[in-house]
Symmetry: C2
Subunit: 73 residues, 2 copies
Amino acid sequence: MNNRLRVLRAERKMSQAVLAELLDVSRQTVNAIELGKHDPSLLLAFKVSQVFGLPVEQIFDPGLHGEAKQAAE
Amino acid sequence: MNNRLRVLRAERKMSQAVLAELLDVSRQTVNAIELGKHDPSLLLAFKVSQVFGLPVEQIFDPGLHGEAKQAAE
DNA sequence: ACATTATGTCAATAATACTTGTCAAAACGC
DNA sequence: GCGTTTTGACAAGTATTATTGACATAATGT
């Protein structure tokens, strides 16, 4: 599961620790998700969506189509 | 986490078992999710999204503000 | 150089998603 | 009524994710 957490965080100059607080999870959890070590729960994905003000689909990409990447920006 | 699985399924006259096959999970899993016994993984949520041709946000509803978890029951 | 912040990583544990197997009741068709 | 399908439910087990605590390294600032 690819995700744009790092980019979104960088755009807002937000540390993993700060994001973790906003999401009410540990910093390690944010780190693990950002590095693709595991996927967030659906609820956490929604929280991320809220924090960045973007739909889930524009943050997480299951890569089910392989080629189809996001051209929207 | 509320969801519209039952409605979407009914609209398509699709049984839990058939949906389960499309999602590549067990029927019990579909049932449990539909009844709100637990939430799907993010990946499974994306699969559901694909099957019904709708964005995740239009199928699952976390309460959007984290305030009211399940007020309508 | 030193202190502070940010990040990556490991280990152990808790929580939950998902499984198979099974059973019973409700809904449907014949 | 009878058989089939569908659904709800339960239990026990597996797999995955979330949790904290600790430690190492890199980057930043003074």
